[in-house]
Amino acid sequence: MPQYDSSSSPLGRLVAESLTGQISRREIMRRGMALGLSAPVIGMIISAQTRNAMAQEATPAGQEPGWSIVVPEGLRTDLNGARVRAVIAPAADPDRPWQEAAIRKFNEATGAAAEFVPGEQSATDRLATYNQQLGAQSPDNDVYQIDIIWPGIVAQHAVDLSPALSELATLHFPALVENNTVNGALVGMPWYTDAGLLYYRSDLLEEYGFENPPETWAELEEQAQAIQDGESADNSSFRGFVWQGNAYEGLTCDALEWQFSNGGGRIIEPDGTITVNNPQAIAAFERARGWVGTISPEDVTTFDEPLSLNAFAPGNAAFMRNWPYAYSVTQAPDSPLVGKVGVTQLPMGDGEGATHAATLGGWQLMVSKYSPNQEAAIEFVKYMCSPELEKSFTIERSHSPTIGSVYDDPEVVETQEFLARLKPVFEGGAVARPSTVTADLYNSASIAYHTRVNQVLTGQTDAAAAAAEIEAELQDIMSELGY
């Protein structure tokens, strides 16, 4: 099985050297052509280099990455150079220096030989690569970072972590541990988490006389419309509310929030019941359709996270639904929104069962069943997902930890005040996508859902018809799984 290894193949060397900025663009093109790469691939390598260069400049100077890492007690010291190849971040990820520092300290403390293996940038591509390697039962990599919606897909290739790490699992948020448990086996240990949030312009809310951010969707519509009417006189591209409406996984997250906050169910409940063709979910979709072209631009049906952030960050939107990562972008020193952005729970709907909802994101660590060093790999997971390492990850890299006690830690509260306030979101209205119950057919279920919701948003079908079609397709999928 061909293995992507940054040190051995000419292609790997080209990518590694370009990402660390050692070679010029001309050199990349020359070597790329010599290797027979196509123009789009060369273009992608060059753009990754630029992104990496920009990301490296963004890390605060002066502090060595990994300065806050405290090695937890009780680690094994007898690992004797056991190799642990961990695919835990994309090659050009800004977190990479911290990851590598953490790995170094692990090796010092335990005597193992863990190494960082770069992964693909996009989550979809990563899953494709994992499927390729795990499907071929490759022993090349030991630890894999998996998205919150993948446990059902990769469970067949994962080591059950509960015998060795059940005590550690009790420290993490129950919703996440439950999401990661497939047929009684703990497929992945939660590492860091994410949830959908409502960003708002605190300065504009004050200016237009709104004391508090909206609690319900109806209030949000009212506030967004008022602010948009006022601001668009000076700024013709100002919009009330931006979110992710493109036909991709992000829309599944947004739409799940709409329907769950309206009491419409989780799309598919953990016991296999399909909850999408009901009046509350249909009403939720219709409400979202009403935003397109009024408080949201018509373009919003092509937006993903970067595009919606692109509308909000320069100051052209009053409200945005996005993940926690966006906060630090809006508070960067050269941003026009410093001190003007508030974050709160997404609004709730109305009617029976209405609640605040936030779709869970986040990443977990799994150990491959085909790894020749399972004990060392499990020790590595125990290290990375410990309270000490999660605290350091939060302080240095602004990721939301999966362990409740970390949120209350005084150092975290002091340095990452914004994140510390998110604890109620993760403990309260967080809702996971139905990935565990749909196992390896989750992507089909998600595609059936988000393509039809996108059609509702663009006006090509009405919500009731779409909901019925989604239900029919999901029924097909669930019957394949034996429900």
Binding site: A128, N246, P297, T301
Partner: protein, 316 residues
Amino acid sequence: MTQRVAAAPLPQPAKRGRSVDLPQTGWVKARERLAWLLVAPSVLVVALVALYPLFQSVRLSFTNARFGSARPVQYVGVDNYVRLFNDNTFISALGHTVTFTVVSVAIETVLGIVIALIINSNFTGRGVVRTSMLIPWAIPTVVSSQLWRFMYNQDNGVINDVLVNRLGVLSSPVAWIANATTSLPAIIAVDVWKTTPFMALLLLAGLQIIPGDVYEASTIDGANKWQQFWQITLPLLKPALLVALIFRTLDAFRVFDVVFVLKGAALDTITLAIYARQTMIDEQWLGRGSAASVVIFLCIALLVIVYSRLVRVEET
């Protein structure tokens, strides 16, 4: 005035399979064996790289294989194909792909001929124009699609800015990509922008082969430019035109990057290649995705057969 000249009898067409009739001596047979031996390595490589994966795709299309799964694989006959043609998304994808191919190739051909005729003539700066004309073709499709995505943006895009604010042609900005009615035309426009230079260059090469004295002779006979175009240029351009059309039709039929970058897998613009990839990689249905790929392959094979019949007709 033209006169019919009695044509000498044409030599008999050579027997199929041989360019020259040679006596079957031992020496000739040995040469043939050697020829086969020398060609064998290339044939082997082509068989491995092209034929084997094709065979695998066809084989998988009759199974229920899943990507990345350890589940045992079973043969399900034509079940995948039946499913395909009952799937509305596949039918939409087929429709979009055919529309895209027909419209974009037609526009590119017409524009390509016009541009080729223009740059075939002598004017100052012709060299610069010919070189710079290739820029859209040279920029990687993924990159230029992102450029167009920004240009098409409803609120901040330059296209709406020019049409609404500067020229006043439209009353309010249009969401070119989001709106289901304008999305496919917008994508076709991007492809036309990118590929017309390619067509123009292929056709320019065809134009330059046409000898100038044919035009001189026709001018003496009193033909005007319009007649010259239809009765001299176009017929003599046919070989190059057919080659260009074959290239473009096959490429357009397999379109993926421009549509994927601008609209992802949205149902109003999904194409066959995007559908195949989504089924095979995202949904991990290796068997069903292979069936979709085989359908694409068969459609393209059909187009190739049709075109090569046309080319062969031209040669006789």
